[in-house]
Amino acid sequence: MADTNSRQETGSSKLREWMAFLFVIAVVVPVLSVAVVGGYGFIVWMLQVFVLGPPGHGG
């Protein structure tokens, strides 16, 4: 995207834009989501092990 004036550059920057978009949507966001949920679960698990004890009524 450094130079949008050249035709050739335009083609490859379009490709690059699509690649980036799809990469983020198909890989980065899902991986992050799973990591966040998993991390949350892991933290809760560790809390259960060391602080809270096993899950009780409703939580």
Partner: protein, 404 residues
Amino acid sequence: MKIISTLWNTLKRPPVHISLGVIIIVSFIAGVIFWGGFNTAMEVTNTEKFCVSCHEMEDNVYQELQETVHWSNRSGVRAICSDCHVPHEWTAKIARKMQASKEVWGAIFGTINTPEKFEGKRLELAQHEWARFDANGSQECRNCHDYDSMDWELMSDKARRFMKPAAERDQSCLNCHKGIAHHLPEEMNKGGNPLLADLLNDATSVSANKDTPYYSAESVDLYRDAELTELVGHLTIATEVAVLETQGGSVKLEIPGWRKEKGFGRVFYEDFGQNITNAVLDKDAAQDESLVATRERKEDDLTGLPWAKVTAELWAKKGAYLKGRDALWDTASEIYHDGCSVCHSEPDPEHFDANTWPAMFSGMVGFTNMDGPTQSLVLKYLQKHSSDYVDDGQNVDDGQAAER
């Protein structure tokens, strides 16, 4: 590095080639697909097929489940692994899924990959589950079962007697229903037989002298004759006897006891007024004065019943008697602790008196897997260490105190 910086440079700017509409629509669709996939993954990992895809689960707990009511019943409702083991509440569920990473670790490194290793770990694993059920009041069971929907009239008498008070206290199901889906850990299954067998083993090597007291290491059949042909009754375990005579494989025993002077007097008790059974004779033998001699008579003020101190002289097999009762009491104490501390901490023996214990004990013993002989030993142990006997010097130092 180059790729990442290019990517970052591309992402930093507003898009030039992709319209906002396309971005929104594609993102939305991707979100839907992701959400669906996430939930599908959660569901797949909740299926029984997934759970038993490890042979550790398939070979052990899965096979055991198939013998139980939750596998096939008249209502045709199946409980699968996740019904009982995975919380429904979202956070707890996610935490449980992450916890499974430990199980994956175990599967990779084979911590329980043989039946022996599994049995070795089972108590620990079961205790984790019990702690969990304890904390949530057996929530998973109650997703299907509900105290409020139970019709006491339809329940068996035994079930009603226990379940109704449990419902009033909103008690956790697993307080009483351990082992509902899988075999109990081996440690809890020892009904005491191997321990009793050890005692009996010791007893076979004890040679009987006259004049010293002996104690039966098992329930022994009693005969009128030295050839052991005419059976007249039996001696209960841990009963004091004296050996009068030895003839081949038989010994002539002198059995002291008290009995009620009412009816046939078939049951001998260890002490005046105490329902601690020593021996049971059949009707004819109990009335036969050549076998049973009366020494003393006394009336029980409490019940008004006349009691008599008696001794019987009868034949029995050799090699079933020990010199003291300590080994018997130690064994009994261990079995009592193991069997009766499963649901509540076991009451001290001296919590009840000797005549209260039999009813207490028989109401509870069905929850344990003690067999007949073990039951009578443990009951006698409890009675002899009950409030009627604690002040009696002989019982003070018998290991029971040291255990606490």
